[in-house]
Structure formats: structure tokens, C-alpha cells
Amino acid sequence: MDLSVYLNSMRDAAGLPFYPIVFQVLLVLTFSVHIVMVNLVLGSSFLAVYEVSRKSEFGTRLSKALGRVITVGLSIAIVLGVAPLLFVQVIYDPFWYTATSLSAFWALMFLVVITLAFYSSYGFYLGNKKSSHGEMKARWAYVAIFFLLLTALFIHMLSMEQLTPEKWKAWIISKEGFVSFSGGEFHSVNLGRLLHFIIPSFAVTGVYLMLYASYFSEREDYDSNYLDYVAKRGANLALWASVLTVASGFWWLGTIPKDFSFAQNPFLIIGAVLGIITTAYLGAAYLSPGKRAKNAAILMFLTIFFMSCAREGLRMHYMNKVGYSIYNYPLNVDWPSTILFFATFIMGLFVLCFPAAAAFKAGKAHKGQVVIINPTIVRNSLYLMIAWFVVVAGLGIVISLKNGTLF
């Protein structure tokens, strides 16, 4: 059986419930948000260790703050990661399922190492919550970094294996004709690409620090010298990490097959130009990093988004090479469930305004001060949730009665 025949025959028999381009856009969008959070967690872990080693008062305070960022960020990163994981299985199912089955053991090990990373980061955060200047211990942060890097390596490997389908057979079938069912394959690591995901962690963390300093600048109980220290550390880190990210990008670019002409990909060009603008802006922002934090964050997110688009474009090159395109995936359009998702998604954005407003206002308030949240936002969030339930439960009862499945 030809590889292309295999890949196309392994598409799910049910087809897609909506147009592939929609899933593709959702995949790229949710991946961009997910990877920003992943970068923040990884970068914060490294920086927390560094700040502990400096044994300064500001360093201690900052590493404690980063301890909380790591734990909360990791939770959010995992939840955000569910969406791209879902959408990749919808349109790239033959690649995803084959690569993951070939490396089943490592796919499951990913869960083990990320759990260990999680609890190590909690060990660092909770273990140092009450420790004062000079007493902080970084050993759990080291452990967390180790497991986070392993997590990155495993996920990178699983992604890369999907791009090399022409090698799959040779990995598990010996010359004597034996087929391996061990699920222990570990191939296709590309250090340039992996670094291009890891190094931006420092840039994202740097920009986060700039935002942190800007956000808390209105609070009187925050020492302005400390915030200045954090903002400058952030701007410095973001600048140098951006430069190194560009360098690792060139390394990765050199490993991509020439016939893809990937350097001409419009998304890559936009992403690269944005990356250069961001780097220049960070250089200029060094003197007043707090004031330029928001613009730097917007520029950085746009860069990451366009680079994610470029990454998707690259994936399509690899897959076109073996005769696979998502655009001719058979369709069985299902409007009711599509409407359910998009209506819920829009509702969810409204509901999220409430916790976002609460967090934003509470964070800006001085210690001991109780802030009041706009009652309309509060009330409407709850009403929206209840309305969702009433509509779907009503729909369910009607359908169940019609189909005779209720009693």
C-alpha cells in the first residue's frame, strides 16, 4: 500500500462536521495562546532559579512572584492546550494517531513528566511562600525545569514524527519482517526547531515582567525601586532573548527542505518582520520599560501568532509532499453542533469578563482594601450560564421525547 493511499484511507469515516479551514484557523489561534502560556511557565522557571541565586531582596521577591506564575500558568497552559490538541486530531488525524501510536510509551511518559513538573513547581512555590530574603531554596525549581524540558522534548518529538511519514515503516519493521508493537519509537528531534520554541520563553517572560511592573505601579505598597528592577530585568531579558530567537530561527530554517521555498512563505515574512520590529522596540523601551509594556506585549503576541501561522504553512508543505491535503477532507456538515460551539464560545467570552474584571481590580487594590465589582457584569455572567443550561436541557428533552429515548 502506498503511503499516500494509507494516509488518505485513515481519515475518519465520519468526515468533518464543518469546513476544514475553520478548524485550521481555530487550531492556529488556540495554539498561539497556548504556546504563549507555555513560554511564560518555562521562562519564569529559569528566571526564578536565577533570581534565587542572586540572593538579593528584590530577587527573592521576584522569584516568589514567579513561583505563583509557574503554578497558575501551568494549569492554564494545560487547559488552553486541550483545544489545539483537539483540532489537530480533527484535520490531521492520520498523522497524529500514527505518530502517537508509534511512540505510545513516550506519549504516556509526557503525562508523567508534566505531573512531576507540576508538583515540583508547587514544591517551589509553597515551600518558599513564607521564606524571607536569603532563605529561599531553588531545588524544586531545578526539578521543575528538568521535567518541563523533558515535556517540551517529548511533545516536540511527537510533532516532528508527524512530519516524517516516509520514515514510519522503517522504524517498526525489521529487515527480517518482524513488526514492533512496543510503541517505544523516539525519532526526528530537530534541535534548531526545539530551541526556537524554548528561547522565546525568555522573551515572553521578559515582556510579562514589563507588564507586571506597569500593572503594579499604581499600588503604593509596591516599592518603586523593586518595580523598576523588575521592569528593567524584563526589558533586558526580552531584548536578548528576541535576538537569540532570531538566531535559532535561522538554524531551524537551514534544516527545512529547500524545495519547500519556506523562506518565501508570507506568514513567515510577516512574522520575521514583526520579530525585528519587536526587538527594535524592546531596545528602545529599555529606558522606560513600564510605559511601553502593553505595546511590547501586543507586538510579541502578533509575532507569535504569525509564526504559528508559518508553522502551520510548513506543516502543509510536509503533508502536501506525501499527497495529503486537509482541504479535500470529506464533509458531513453538522450545523446544530457548530452553532452550539460558536454560540457557547461567544457566551464564554462575556462570562469571562467577570473573573477578568475581578482579578484586574483586586490586583490593583491596596492590601486590605475590598473592591466592588460592577453588579451588572456579575449578575449577567451567572444568568448566561443558567440560560445556557435551560436552552440545552430544553433541547435535550424535546429531542429525547421525539426520539423516544427519555422513558
Partner: protein, 442 residues
């Protein structure tokens, strides 16, 4: 077919079962806990009792550290485990229910945003807003259960979906409502158990006794209602599943129900004695032991659900070995068994050695190994020392004297109500039979 992943001795199916069972503890806590939390917070707010806040903080922290670490990861874990153990099965679910899962994801985001803000803003935002945050979380978490139950129930009873292919026709199937009610009741039971454990650690004795008793009442309510709804659930099972479980075909399913009932009975008794009658005797360590018993009960209940849908992984649509069993004209899906019986299973495989000569015994054994792994390996251990439905032992009981005897047995597979038919032609059968004969324990 996708490459097969073999778990020595235990089968890959057991990996999913373990991860899924474990996931239920944190996920039902995540869905049920905040109904109790907002109940306690309401008391603290309206009755002006700030001493109750210690419980809120501790209980919320437990949810954060347990549910949003182990719960989230084991949830993703089920996906990964299903991906590597039954890729076509999870693919079928995802391609029919992607928007359902995506909708659930929206509620996950709401959950995680509200739980963190709830925990970190206690005492920092006005009481009414904080209480509403708790309500929003509680609704979001329960709605995520409302959604996932539809997909789980679909695997057991696919409803009108096999005729229409419609999302909601499969979602609101025969066992949807009873499963939702049972799981909802159980979530209060689980949340009650954790609440008793957390309440047992409180310093203020009066509050401790009061909350242990209150949480126990919630727990008792959950367990009793759960038992009542379980009868509805069993009543609504597809006829085929009822035959397997109660018609004597698979007696182990009944035993699993008994195990689940005994475990839940023990938990109920614990609520009554250590919560309601003598709350002063409640200790965290006993509570943790109770959690293990609960875990065993859940495992047995889930084992029953999985066993009762045999031979399918998705009711009527897909067999446990990931071969499509049913024509769904509405989706242009064709059953695969007739195709494989006509064209052969071996020629339709990609991951196989290309240069085998099936007229040679050695090559037939190699081919047979691949065919058997795909068609039997999801449910049966293939090693000689296998522990889960080991084929070497099961075949030994048939005392085959030649591969031909096993080929005859393969021919009759479809007659067993819990087994899929052999999906292949005579050549496939011959190769499979020779391989199976080679692994029979003698």
C-alpha cells in the same frame, strides 16, 4: 489500521481503564465541590460567620492542587491513552463530537479562570461578587459534566444516531439522562467525602463538627440518590447489554455491580457513622482510606459500563478492535467487515513487511502475528503469561489439535454475543490460526 501498541500482560485497554477511573475522583470533585462551597459561603455571608472561611480556603486549595493538576492531566491522559490504545475509536468520537468537546473546553476555561480568581480574591472583592464567582464556577463545572456525559453515554447506547448521523440524536441517547442523574448524584457523594476530610482538619471544633455533619448529609444524599438513579440506568441499558449482564452470558459484569454496590455501601456507612452520628470521630486518614474504597467502586462501575457494551467500543458502530461494524448511510459510512472478508485484511494494512511470501509457514506466522494483534490485541493479552483475557489460556481450554481447529473457532466468533466476527478472508484466517496455535499454552 494504525500501528498497534501492545502492553505486555495487561493490554492497552487496561491503561485507559486505569486512567479513566482515576480521573473520575478529581473530575467529580471539581464538578461537585463548589455547590457545597457556595452553600457554606452563603452561610458565612448571610449569617455573618467569618469562621467558616477557613474551610472555604482549604477546600478551594484542595480543588486547585488536586483537580487542576491531577484532574486536568488525567483528563488529557484519557485522550492520550485512548489515542495510543484505540486510535480509530477516539477518532470516531472526535469526528462526531468535536464541537461538543470544543464547547466543553469553553467551560474548562471559565472553570479555571473562576477558580483561581475565587481563591485569590477571597476577602479582596465584595462578598456578593465573590459568592457569584463560586456560583459561576459551580455551573461551569456541572455543565462540563452535562456535555461529557453525552459522549460517554453515546459509546454505550448510540440512539438514533445510527439512522440520522445527527450530533444531538447520538448525544441525547437512551442512557444519557439516567447517566447524567447518576453521575450528578455521585458527584455530590464524592464532593461530600472530600469535604468531610477537609472539614476534619479544621482547628475550630464547633465549625469542624458542624461542617463534617453537613458534608455528610450532602454525601448521604448523593449516595442514596445515586443508588436510585442507578436502577433507572440499568433499566435503560440496551437489550443487548442487559442480556450480557443479567442473562448469564458475562457473569463477571454482575459481580462488578456487586463490588460497586458494596464499596458505595461502605462509603454510605462511613458518612452515617463518622459524619452524622459521631462527627467527632471523623479523621482525615479514615477519609483517605474511604477514597480508596470509592476508587474501587468507581472502577467496578466503569468496568461494568465498558463490559456491557461489548463487543463494541461505540454501540453498534465500532467493534472493540476498531473495525467499523455498521452502515451509516446518513454519513456515507460503510461497515468494514464485509470489505475485509472480501478483499482480505492483510492487503489493507500499511504497517506490514512488504516482502512476505504467504505460501511459507514462517512468513504466515509473521503475518498472522500482525493480524491477531490488530483483531484481538485490544482486549486480549497475547503473551503466554498474559493476565487480561489471555488468548493462550482461553485457546488452551478449547484443546485445539491443529491450526484448522482454531480457524473453525475464528469462523464461529461472530456467534458469541460479546465477540466481533473475524474480519478477514480465508488467507487471513489461515495465517491468524497458525499464529494463535503457536501461542497456545501446552
Amino acid at each position: 489500521m494504525y500501528p498497534f501498541w501492545e502492553v505486555p500482560f495487561f493490554t492497552s485497554g487496561l491503561v485507559i481503564a486505569l486512567v479513566a477511573t482515576f480521573h473520575i475522583l478529581p473530575c467529580h470533585l471539581a464538578t461537585g465541590a463548589f455547590w457545597f462551597n457556595v452553600y457554606v459561603e452563603r452561610k458565612a455571608f448571610y449569617e455573618k460567620r467569618p469562621e467558616l472561611l477557613e474551610f472555604l480556603k482549604k477546600y478551594s486549595l484542595l480543588i486547585l492542587i488536586f483537580c487542576f493538576v491531577i484532574g486536568s492531566l488525567s483528563g488529557v491522559g484519557i485522550w492520550y491513552a485512548a489515542t495510543v490504545a484505540s486510535p480509530r475509536g477516539i477518532s470516531a468520537l472526535i469526528h462526531n463530537y468535536v464541537w461538543g468537546w470544543a464547547t466543553e473546553w469553553v467551560f474548562f476555561i471559565i472553570e479555571i479562570a473562576t477558580i483561581y480568581v475565587y481563591y485569590y480574591t477571597l476577602g479582596r472583592i465584595d462578598e456578593k461578587s465573590h459568592l457569584t464567582l463560586g456560583w459561576v464556577y459551580a455551573w461551569a463545572a456541572w455543565i462540563s459534566m452535562i456535555i461529557i456525559t453525552g459522549i460517554l453515554a453515546f459509546m454505550l447506547s448510540s440512539g438514533k444516531w445510527v439512522e440520522t448521523g445527527g450530533f444531538f440524536d447520538g448525544f441525547f441517547n437512551e442512557t444519557y439522562w439516567p447517566q447524567l442523574f447518576t453521575r450528578t448524584a455521585l458527584m455530590f457523594g464524592i464532593a461530600g467525602a472530600y469535604a468531610v476530610i477537609v472539614a476534619s482538619t479544621l482547628k475550630n471544633k464547633e465549625v469542624r463538627l458542624e461542617l463534617v455533619r453537613t458534608a455528610s448529609i450532602w454525601g448521604i444524599g448523593g449516595m442514596v440518590l445515586g443508588a436510585i438513579f442507578t436502577f433507572w440506568y440499568l433499566f435503560k441499558l440496551p437489550e443487548h447489554a442487559k442480556d450480557l449482564a443479567f442473562g448469564g452470558t458475562l457473569p463477571y459484569l454482575k459481580s462488578m455491580l456487586y463490588v460497586a454496590a458494596i464499596c458505595y455501601g461502605v462509603v454510605l456507612l462511613w458518612f452515617v457513622i463518622f459524619g452524622l452520628i459521631r462527627p467527632s470521630l471523623s479523621r482525615p486518614v479514615i477519609g483517605i482510606i474511604i477514597l480508596f474504597i470509592l476508587f474501587a467502586g468507581i472502577g467496578a462501575g466503569e468496568g461494568f459500563r465498558e463490559g456491557a457494551r461489548r463487543p463494541y467500543i461505540i454501540d453498534r458502530y465500532m467493534y472493540g478492535n476498531q473495525i467499523i461494524a455498521y452502515n451509516i448511510p446518513a454519513k456515507n459510512i460503510k461497515a468494514e467487515v464485509p470489505k475485509f472478508q472480501k478483499e482480505g485484511f492483510w492487503p489493507n494494512l500499511y504497517f506490514k513487511p512488504d516482502n512476505l511470501d504467504l505460501s511459507k509457514t514462517k512468513d504466515r506466522l509473521l503475518a498472522g502475528s500482525v493480524i491477531v494483534h490488530h483483531q484481538c490485541g485490544n482486549c486480549h493479552a497475547l503473551d503466554r503469561l498474559g493476565k487480561i483475557r489471555p488468548l493462550s489460556v482461553l485457546l488452551e481450554n478449547l484443546a485445539p489439535e491443529s491450526p484448522g481447529d482454531i480457524a473453525d473457532f475464528l469462523d464461529a466468533l461472530g456467534d458469541y454475543p460479546y465477540m466481533p466476527p473475524f474480519a478477514g478472508n480465508d488467507k487471513d484466517k489461515e495465517a491468524a490460526a497458525e499464529y494463535l496455535f503457536s501461542i497456545v499454552r501446552r
